[in-house]
């Protein structure tokens, strides 16, 4: 979009200056994420671009650190744990959160704001406080240093996202549809799966993605509540960074960026589908 034709020289200058400023801010946002990628293919254990790399010499690049990642038992254990924990906590969070959102969206629900506030409090309370509380309490009830304990903790942290996204989809939900289904003789369960679920599905999926990434990225609670056997990828990264960053961490980071690109694409597709369904999309 060029500056409007009626713009004067001052406005033109400002117009381009503004674009440059915005460009710099976008640069600030994205560079840190891109810069680690080439470095993860370094042959030498430094975090700098070697002259050979800048000359695009193929010998300066290698999969050495990826190889290290795939052969190191610590990292492999962490990957396994991360997926197991994220998988179960996502399922739990999605089911609990969706059901609760269905209840919350009913007009008759009493104390709605208060309950909503409580349900999304895990998102607001600083993680260090949640972690401190869970550390003491989960030890007391024997859940500390167990997979189940971490799964439950991550479920609690993930449900607010599901509640929020599903509630948002339900705002535009036409309740006469369920009444229509009922009047046509459908059982409530059938109505739920045939009428409600397809309509709220985008919200449920994006909530589930949020819950997944919450668990997958979470490190504070894991640091406190887990022990070595429940170590996750972020746990392993955190201890790695504290000790000394080996470029293996950059390889892991690069792969995690790829994971987030995939998640982002799924979300974007969902958003487009949702807009199309509601006839809001321009194209």
């Amino acid at each position: 979009m060029p500056p409007p034709v009626y713009a004067g020289p001052v406005e033109r200058t400002w117009y381009y200056t503004f674009r440059v400023i915005c460009g710099l801010i976008f640069f600030f946002l994205i560079t840190p994420i891109l810069v680690i990628m080439p470095l993860s293919f370094n042959t030498v254990p430094f975090f700098t671009f070697t002259p050979e790399m800048l000359a695009l010499d193929p010998d300066a690049f290698s999969l050495r650190w990826y190889n290290d990642f795939f052969t190191n038992a610590n990292w492999q254990g962490a990957v396994k744990n991360s997926f197991i924990i994220a998988f179960f906590s996502t399922i739990l969070a999605t089911v609990l959160g969706t059901v609760a959102a269905l209840g919350l969206s009913r007009a008759v629900m009493p104390y709605k704001t208060l309950i909503m506030a409580i349900l999304i409090s895990p998102m607001i309370v600083p993680l260090i406080i949640s972690a401190a509380g869970m550390y003491f309490f989960y030890s007391k009830i024997g859940l500390a240093s167990t997979h189940l304990g971490i799964i439950l903790a991550h479920t609690a942290l993930g449900t607010p996202f599901v509640v929020i996204t599903v509630t948002a989809t339900l705002v535009g939900f036409d309740h006469s549809l369920t009444r229509a289904a009922a009047s046509l003789g459908s059982t409530p369960v059938r109505t739920f799966f045939k009428v409600v679920v397809p309509l709220i599905l985008p919200g449920v999926i994006s909530g589930a993605l949020f819950a997944f990434i919450t668990s997958f990225d979470e490190v504070v609670v894991v640091l406190f509540v887990a022990s070595f056997e429940q170590r996750t990828i972020p746990w392993q990264m955190f201890s790695g960074i504290r000790e000394n960053i080996s470029p293996t961490i950059l390889a892991v980071a690069t792969m995690l960026v790829v994971v987030s690109v995939m998640l982002l694409s799924v979300l974007e597709l969902l958003r487009r589908r949702n807009e199309r369904l509601r006839g809001m999309s321009p194209g």
Partner: protein, 422 residues
């Protein structure tokens, strides 16, 4: 329920029930159904999340240890008047020796020493050495025997401390969390100046959070404006530049900043290569406050952009055009017409960023060095290193209170129901 005879003149349903009653019942039923739907999650959050936090808060005042382990001497101490300046009577000493023998037996006496050492240095070794010697005290006078075991038992202050900390709840941790302490006469006084640290840390945490929020606003406002005014197709493309960092692991982003900012890092290399700085004059940008500010601003910027963008998207461009056609120059039009319309977005984004910032732990721990650490890092320190869990609980409870106040503010401005994501 018995069938109600329908009185004439009252509307009834097909089965003869009064309509009002029937409706009420239906309403109640659907209320119950709604509550049943919410109940599983509510109970789940209660058990896995709220109870742990309550438990932590309870720890910050809980103080049963002393009276539980010194269970013979503490009740007797209550009758002793600590203001006279005299030592407690012989029976207290005797009870204390008994308590020591028992505490030594089941290895609990050291915990009292550790607990009291938080208040006065030296208690830990007093209890440890006395525990070793108490076994050999067979007969009275116990006063002399105990003082012989360690002369600090002859100091009234020791007894005053035990009496003061023998209640089942204590405010000591909260006092310590705001750099205060109990004096020997029981009055509240300031910690010695060279030990004052937490107030400074809270101030630093609030100040850095404010600064980071302001930076996020300064950086986030222009790009949100650009995103909101560009055609959808272009803005969707640019939006990826905001969303990708948002979805990328926090640890990945922190790692990147370490790689970029460290002295042997990319930025310093670049500056040396260009010739702006000498190789031996590399800039320290990490492991200090600058590191925390840069990395956290980057990490929290999307939380500012997303709410700003969603508010700006709703402002029709005709507002600005109208203002300008009425004679306002673009700057005035922007400041007087556009900005006031975005206040809700500024409030939402600002409070969100601030709330997240004041509780941040991971990034300051990794890039903050000593000057860039926040209160959360000290909570972690007291939980994992110093093991002063009561103090960790008190610091946590204060932080939580600050966050909850902000949360209420957020609710007032934006409404919790209106919270949006992505």
């Amino acid at each position: 329920m018995a069938q109600v005879e329908a009185a004439p003149g009252i509307m009834t349903t097909a089965d003869g029930q009064p309509l009002k009653l029937s409706l009420q019942r239906a309403l109640r039923r659907s209320k119950i159904r709604a509550m049943l739907l919410v109940a599983p999650l509510f109970l789940f959050i209660l058990v896995t999340f709220l109870l742990p936090i309550l438990d932590m808060t309870f720890r910050s005042v809980e103080n049963q240890l002393v009276s539980e382990i010194l269970h013979r001497s503490v009740p007797l101490l209550q009758q002793w008047d600590e203001k006279t300046g005299d030592l407690p009577p012989e029976d207290v000493f005797q009870a204390m020796v008994e308590d020591f023998k028992e505490g030594r037996e089941n290895r609990t006496i050291g915990r009292v020493g550790t607990r009291l050492n938080y208040e006065v240095a030296g208690m830990s070794s007093l209890f440890r050495s006395t525990a070793r010697k108490a076994r050999r005290i067979k007969e009275g006078p116990y006063t002399d025997a105990l003082i012989k075991a360690n002369k600090r038992w002859g100091d009234v202050e020791t007894w005053r401390l035990i009496k003061r900390e023998s209640g089942t709840i204590t405010l000591s941790y909260y006092l310590a969390a705001v750099d205060l302490r109990f004096g020997s006469d029981g009055s509240v006084q300031a910690q010695p100046e060279n030990r004052q640290i937490y107030v400074k840390l809270f101030v630093r945490t609030l100040w850095l959070s404010t600064l980071i929020t302001a930076l996020c606003l300064v950086l986030g406002y222009p790009i949100s404006y650009l995103l909101a005014t560009l055609p959808t197709r272009t803005s969707n493309m640019l939006m990826i530049l905001v969303l990708l960092p948002f979805w990328t692991s926090l640890l990945v982003r922190t790692t990147s900043w370490i790689v970029l900012l460290q002295q042997e890092g990319v930025i310093n290399d670049l500056l040396v290569w260009v010739g702006i700085i000498a190789d031996d004059a590399r800039i320290r940008m990490i492991h200090n406050q600058a590191g925390t500010i840069i990395a956290m601003t980057h990490i929290l910027l999307p939380f500012m952009v997303l709410p700003l963008y969603s508010v700006m998207k709703t402002i029709p461009p005709s507002y600005m055009r109208a203002a300008m056609s009425l004679g306002a120059n673009p700057f005035t039009a922007f400041m007087r017409v556009y900005v006031p319309n975005t206040v809700a977005g500024i409030g939402a984004g600002g409070i969100l960023v601030f709330i997240i910032a004041i509780g941040y732990y991971i990034t300051p721990a990794l890039v903050g060095g000593t000057s860039g650490t926040l209160i959360s890092n000290f909570i972690a320190y007291h939980m994992q290193v110093s093991l002063n869990w009561g103090l960790a609980g008190a610091l946590g409870a204060i932080l939580l209170a600050i966050v909850l106040i902000l949360y209420l503010l957020y609710d007032k401005i934006v409404g919790i129901d209106n919270m949006k994501l992505g």
